[in-house]
Amino acid sequence: MERETIRSQKKLTVFLLILFINLILISNSVVLNNNRSILQNTLHLAAYPFQAAFMKGSDFIAGKLRSYVFLKNTYKNFMGLKKKQSVLKYENYLLKKALNDLDFSEKVKKKFKQVLIVDIISIDSGFPYSGAMINKGYFSGIKRDMVVVNIENELVGKIVEPISMFSSKVRFITNPIGGVGAYIEKNKLEGLLRGHNTHSCSFNYLMENKPVGTGDIVITSGTDRIYPPYLKIGEVIRTEKKVLIQNVVVKPYFISRSIKKLIVINND
């Protein structure tokens, strides 16, 4: 009896299994509105949670990896940009400096009718503070008594004989021959500045009624009719009082600067 029951159960199972297989085949043939069969839809629904979990997981990992790579690249770019910024800053500084120089030249050009930029070609080694030869002569328009300043617009000297076609001589203000009409900028105390073939000059006949201190700035007065007024000459380094006059020693600015390039001004 029991065996009979098991047998009939087996039969029923086989029967149901075959029916189920046929139903699966039918569901595979029936296409729904989304152009998929029922079987495909069922499989899709069954597989969807795993698919979604896998996709989200892979997206998460990919996102993290992307962020890591992005951050790494960003840091690398940042360092590169920082380096470039330093280079640009330096370049900017150089350009600004060049622009300032250019502005100066432009100002000088505006101020004076004719400006010549010259190079020093020789200096007398026995009297280095007396004068120097420059590489421009009368061919370039150089004339006697033209004023010479350095690139900072500080007085250096004037043109003297001999003047050849392609060279001429500059007499520095530290040369004992001649002199420069100058005054102390602070108190307008005026006198004649003369050189001693040394690195300094001194005032002659400077009245002692107004006090002069070290560090006071000395500028041209224009009274000598050679040098134009308001050109910076130097600063006071020593003072000594005498009867009615005072002895003031001035160190010209051009002494402590490069004089490789000079500017010759036609002061007509």
Binding site: K11, V14, F15, I18, L19, I21, N22, L23, I24, L25, I26, S27, N28, S29, V30
Partner: protein, 158 residues
């Protein structure tokens, strides 16, 4: 020719007839399910597994010929084969009227199940041809077939 060979030849003949009928269905306007007769025979022999296998194969063949959706007639034929297998002991095949009625009802029921599926899937609707005419013709053909003594002897119907 032995009985076995005759039965095999008869089954082959029925299959060929089914193919021909389906090829020229529109021209002939006759719809007989010869394969169903094979199914009845196999199910009546009392082997459950053979019966199920035969029902499945015959159902799928019918699907190929009729609906193009594999599984509809497979399902309905397996269902009817199971029922036949369960009630076959109560059927007296010696009486032709019983044979006719049995084939008519079983094929009609099987086609009804298949038609319901088709209705659900393709909106084809129930057709009189499937539920009445085909079972009628098939039953009549079976009666004619069983009327022959040679066939009776071969399929062990006395």
């Amino acid at each position: 020719m032995t009985k076995r060979q005759f039965r095999f030849s008869l089954a082959l003949f029925l299959v060929l007839m089914q193919i021909l009928i389906n090829l020229y269905l529109n021209e002939l306007n006759i719809n007989i399910d010869f394969l169903f007769l094979i199914l009845i025979y196999v199910s009546s022999k009392g082997n459950f597994m053979k019966s199920m296998m035969a029902a499945t194969l015959i159902g799928w063949m019918t699907d190929l010929f009729n609906s193009q959706i594999i599984g509809i007639f497979g399902f309905s034929r397996v269902l009817i084969a199971y029922i036949i297998f369960e009630i076959i002991v109560f059927i007296d095949f010696k009486r032709l009227s019983f044979t006719f009625l049995f084939i008519f009802l079983s094929l009609s029921l099987s086609n009804l199940v298949a038609s319901l599926f088709l209705l659900f899937i393709n909106d084809y609707g129930l057709t009189v041809g499937m539920i009445i005419y085909q079972p009628l013709l098939t039953g009549m053909f079976a009666v004619i077939l069983v009327s022959s003594d040679r066939i009776k002897e071969a399929i062990n119907v006395y």
